[in-house]
Assembly symmetry: C2
Homo-oligomer: 342 residues x 2
């Protein structure tokens, strides 16, 4: 267990100064072809690679980006991790992962993140307190929230960026489809009361219902959790006057609802009740579900997130809020046309 070779060692072997070694490993530094060759040869011999920590200490750029997440049981987020890390890796950054407890404000973890001098932070499905948003801004560490926005949206220039899909508009689409297909007693399962995604989807949904001169039949909260969504479904369908249409704030819960509806309550979907989810996770397309849903377009969301963060890290851009359109994906949990008896 020998210790790793240092620039000094390479310099000695190549018979050049240590700074020459540094320069060969610094893109865009001026070194003669001759020295570069010697250094590279010596480096290869020793298996030398620059110590990223020491480099960061002096350059004040760690090339590390923190990614804060929760809800990994919702398959949407693994996809986010996968794509984000790959894109960030390609851009020359490395990802420090933090799992935040669901529903807690991620403040504790954030202090630790900052200790590592990260160049930027991505918060996905995690809430950032305004206080910490400020201290990040003060330190010049850009933050982009993914799929979440801060409470006082729109009020004044926010200091942190966000990338979300058009949740409200997605909610509207769901409402329109359900009504158009002849469902009349329409209920909703919300996600988390304090999550902007859930709030916005619900608002869009109920607003559009109002436009169509209908009212929400009933409402329960599923906390973006599989089991709790099943309980919510049960409660929704416990009374005599059962709903016949259901909008669920995400696919993960919609699938839970579907299982409950079919296996436990012996209801037929889409005949007895129509169901719409949100996200379009891979499972929504699985043969046993074929869930009609509102798609969040992951790729442009990732693109925007990485672009936004990178530009802010290089100081090219100020914080911004980006909204990516949603699209309705019709599969088999909403009927194709209103029942002829209607």
């Amino acid at each position: 267990m020998k210790t790793a070779p240092r620039a000094q060692d390479v310099a000695a072997l190549a018979k050049v100064s240590q700074s020459a070694v540094s320069r060969t490993f610094t893109p865009g530094a001026s070194v003669s072809e001759e020295t570069r060759r010697k250094v590279l040869a010596a480096a290869k011999m020793l298996g030398y690679r620059p110590n990223a920590l020491a480099r960061s200490l002096i350059t004040r750029r760690s090339r590390i980006v923190a990614l804060v997440m929760s809800y990994l049981d919702n398959q949407f987020y693994p996809l986010v991790i996968e794509q984000l890390s790959q894109r960030l890796q390609k851009a020359g950054y490395h990802v420090l992962m933090f799992i935040a407890e669901v529903d807690e404000e991620a403040d504790g973890v954030l202090a630790e993140i900052l200790d590592y001098q990260v160049d930027g932070i991505i918060m996905a499905s995690a809430n950032l307190s305004p206080r910490l948003a400020n201290s990040c801004a003060d330190l010049g560490v850009p933050v982009v929230q993914f799929n979440r926005v801060m409470e006082q949206r729109g009020r004044g220039r926010s200091k942190i960026s966000s990338v979300t899909s058009a949740n409200e508009s997605g909610g509207r689409m769901a409402a329109r489809l359900l009504v158009e297909r002849g469902y009349r007693r329409i209920a909703l399962i919300a996600g988390l009361e304090n999550a902007s995604t859930s709030i916005e989807r619900e608002r869009g949904f109920t607003d559009e219902l109002a436009v169509l001169e209908m009212r929400l039949w009933n409402r329960e909260v599923g906390h973006y959790d599989f089991h709790r969504a099943q309980e919510a479904t049960q409660r929704l369908f416990a009374g005599d006057e059962r709903p016949d249409g259901l909008f669920v704030a995400n696919d993960h819960m919609a699938i839970a609802a579907l299982d409950m509806l079919r296996q436990e309550l012996n209801l037929k979907v889409p005949e007895d009740v129509g169901v719409i989810g949100f996200d379009d996770v891979p499972q929504a397309a699985w043969g046993a579900y074929r869930l009609t849903t509102v798609r969040q377009d992951l790729e442009p969301m990732i693109d925007a997130t990485v672009a936004l963060l990178c530009q802010q890290m290089t100081g090219e851009l100020r914080p911004a809020d980006i909204v990516v359109p949603c699209a309705l994906v019709e599969r088999a949990t909403v009927r194709q046309r209103p029942p002829s008896t209607a």
Copy 2:
């Protein structure tokens, strides 16, 4: 955008030396209650926290652990990420995440990892070349492979650790169950030809079949991929003499097979064909599938991984290979008793 306060600044404000500041932030260093109080007060005023990079440079311990993964579409791995990061966080480590392309050897990414002076490496569902395994060992960076073992298993003292479940024994269980329940034309869908999980599960399965004086009816490779598993299923059931029992190397593919069997081929499970998966991912329990499967017991696997790594990082332990038992989970894709006509 002010720059972060340094220990120097705190020292000045508290009217003590800079080393006093360092000591108050070093657990187990000797500082009088008096100084400690002054330093803490000053630190709070300025919002000081030690720079982890600078600290690591000198202590030669970064408290960073690298986690290399792929296959995030298999829900087993998001769970692994979630649990591992939480446990590592609790142990005072931070997680640098890398997504490796499926099927490539993760050598490229590993060099970058080592640049960051990580204290340890966990490779989950990713293959490490023996060459790099050696260079990690040389550098004194412990590696534990999660759910994968190196090719030349058993031969001499390996330099890196592994945590796996008893894949072979799991495969045997599957074979026994299928035969016991009267299935006779038994086929298999393998994962990846070069993945130890797939190889071992298959070996256990066919070996046990042999013990029971049966032979594998047919075999296809699904590459641990949803779509390719569906194609494999199609091929398996294309001929005249269809299999009536199917062991699939993981749940992710088993679900794909189930969809294909029921939706496309109009076969009844478990009547026409019995299906067994491997892993027991959350989706296997979903109402629409209720997949009979071999459970990998995640918690003890995580425990072992974290314990192993931590002990090796502190030098308490040499590399080891740990194998966690599997358990059969019966649900609804294998019939309860052999058909009476048999």
